[in-house]
């Protein structure tokens, strides 16, 4: 099938297999390896990208379903001016270790900050429960997100 999609602000037009996953298109087709493959069942969040501003698990999302959409990966987010604030908070709190979950985590946080729904610690914890991190123990990420969202930790 023919796919037309905007990835990180640039138009992409190509022939794809209908069963091709968005994650494979991004990683293998476009060389955007920031999105990671891990659980394959939409539990871990390592493959998170934004489709029309909403976080989705690219491992379970057909590339064809992104037809006509705006896709943003970590590489695209990192070019935006608002990313620097996010980067500074995560760095200050050392909210990352191996870095494998980090792009997905950051994209989810960025999307939630945009919608303004992170209004309490409980809400942040619930909203981020779909992004696993096996290294940090979460608290440092929570502290960074609280700071970004203006919520008392």
């Amino acid at each position: 099938m023919n796919l037309e999609v905007t990835v990180n602000g640039r138009p992409v037009v190509r022939e794809i297999d209908p069963q091709e996953l968005l994650l494979d298109l991004l990683r293998d087709g476009l060389g955007l390896t920031g999105a990671k493959r891990s659980c394959d069942v939409q539990v871990c969040g390592a493959c998170t990208v934004l489709v029309n501003g909403r976080p989705v698990s690219a491992c379970c999302f057909l590339a064809g379903d992104a037809h006509g959409c705006e896709v943003v990966t970590i590489e695209g987010l990192a070019e935006r001016p608002e990313f620097e604030r996010l980067e500074a908070a995560m760095t200050r709190h050392a909210g990352l270790q191996c870095g494998f979950c980090t792009p997905g985590m950051v994209l989810t946080v960025a999307a939630l900050l945009e919608t303004g729904e992170l209004t309490s610690v409980a809400e942040i914890r619930r909203s981020l429960a779909g992004n696993l991190c096996r290294c940090t123990g979460y608290r440092c990420i929570l502290d960074a997100v609280c700071e970004l969202a203006g919520v008392a930790p």
Partner: protein, 749 residues
Amino acid sequence: MTTVERPSVGAAQVGRSAPRRDAAEKLRGRAQFAGDLVVPRMLHGKVLRSPVAHARIASLDTSAAERMPGVVCVLTSADLADIDPYWGHAIRDRPVVAIDKVRFSGEPVAAVAAEDEGTAVAALDAIRVEYEELPVVGTIEDALTPDAPIVNDGPLRPGLFHGLGELKPAEGNVCYRYRIDRGELEAVFAHADLVVEGEYAFPAVYQYAMETHTVVAQVEGDEITLWSSCQHPFLVRAEIAALFQVPLSSVRLVVPYLGGGFGSKSYTKMEPITVALARKAGRPVRIQNRVAESMVTTRRHGMRCRMRTAMTRDGRLLGRDVECWFDTGAYADNGPRVTATGGDAAPGPYRWEAYRVDAACVYTNTAPSGSYRAFGATHLQWIGELQVDELARRAGLDPLDVRRLSLCTPGEELRAGGKPLDADLVGDVEQVAEAVGWGTPKEQNVGRGLSVGLLAAGAHPVSSAIVRMEADGQVVVLVGTTEVGQGARTVFAQIAAEELGVEAERVTVRGADTRFTPYDRSTGASRSTTLAGLAVQRAAANVREQLVEISGTEELDPDAYPKLFQRHFGLAGGELIGRGEVAPQGSGSYAEGPVFWEVCVGAAEVEIEPETGRVHVRKTATVADVGKAINPQLVERQDEGGTLQGLGNALFEELIYEDGQLLNQTLLDYRVPTFEDLPDEMTCVIVENGDGPGPYGAKGCGEGSLAAVTAAVATAVADAGVPMTELPLTPERVWRRIQELKEEGTWPR
């Protein structure tokens, strides 16, 4: 205690929470992991894995798969006739692909190399295998029955890094035993006022490094190059060189960033099959496991244990008797070392009159078991500490007082001929007790628990480093340690910077590449800051000596280094190269060790919901007894990460096997901790007594919290009135236990 002297150069780089050197790369998605690399002409490999747990391979037909367009080749055991095709660092028991027999469900039987992954997957379906099933040894109990089928019937051959003395012949399915027998045990128990005893079970657990095992291999003549998600590149290099009969220098291991390890990527894993496939294909091949495959590549040992502990009425611990059996699966992997470390952890750091440990490593028809963070200690500490608490309860004593009375003190011998205690355990446990409000009133269904243990840490002490100072005053550290998320590159940058009087930000630490980085034994056993860090310190100090020599003064000015180079070399070039090495004082053997005892001290406060059996963890506290915190923030992060893994091990993580089949092989039904499992309060106490063998008196951390928290949750749940004998403490198990206690009339307590 005194803090170790350190050179007085520049502003202090050691002891500050320098930002991670890899933060920007990782946050921006630029950090490269093995699966992100594309090697020219690279093929995609997929592994055909056995669907049955124990069988003879009656026939194997790959012809249809080989004829498929896009398939380059199919590897079977027939392709390995020119080599001795068995590997295993402890016991050389594991074939590259199954030979005649499969011994666990998930064992590689064949592998396909194809132009793309989809073709490789389709080709697996075209391979025809007929299995003649054999009786399955599914559990430790099955393996130990007198007429049990034998999982591995050949003679045990030691691997290159057995490291545990002479390997004795197998006794049935037991491939390794570790025994300690000190004092007159029976006499001590015969005269003890109080004795508790019980049988306990610890589950098999999946490490879940989020990056699955991933290897790219290229074979060109005798030259073998691997880009691998491995923790121990030098040990893998040695095993690959031995297996494919080439010199060490012909094998090159390049390790990009690792997406977590926790022991799952220690030693050799997917490298032999990837090299064998690339060798046959004549082109580079990548094999990237899916989660279900990594789950059967390695896991934490399930364990059964029988333990009894004796104490006087006034609270003095007297003796302990432990028998334990570790389920190492179909191949030994790191089972012997896990068994020995578990054996060392079993008595706990108490002043015993007598104790006995008999630990066995047992083959079964399940996936091989290896290392997982704090192995051995996590298996046994919760059991020993439950018994200490039960004895205290029976004697009407405060569990903290019992520990104060019998814990070993610094300098006391822990193991005959081994390193004496190098930490203040009483001080440590008092700090965590205070952090969870020990001794203050608590509500119904709330429990508090303490736990104290030790972990033999450091592995074999051989590490080296090279520090290069360039003509612009920038510094590059070459060291074979892998960056697995622990922050090794940041810590090494701080150490080199401290010695050279520059900012840590001026130091670059490159990744491990065995062609260029000097030898480091491994990245694990909490050893990197202590041993590789010491090598980095020595290498940087060596550069400093050269700077002093060429400048003719001890008063070095880092801003003037470029001028100094210009003057010394006569051009804006040249470089100074420093060498640092760490080698064992004696033989470096396990018996003489460990390098240091890692402290596993923690406390927890839990609340039990009796109607559902759910355990809510309100507070945890751990001690990072690190001698000297090179980077305090990274020390805390290690303990916090270990804490959450400890909660997973204590409360819900369990690989469920039935007749040799893994039933929960996705993250949907194997649950790991999420943001919602974070305790309400998590305290990490950093203790800096300068008593470590590493740079500035440092010693490692990062594993102790896992063992400590697992045990502290178990002792806290017991304190709330529900003593458990099997982990994890799932709501169902806790609820059932409460029903039993109700019938016995002991609930609520």
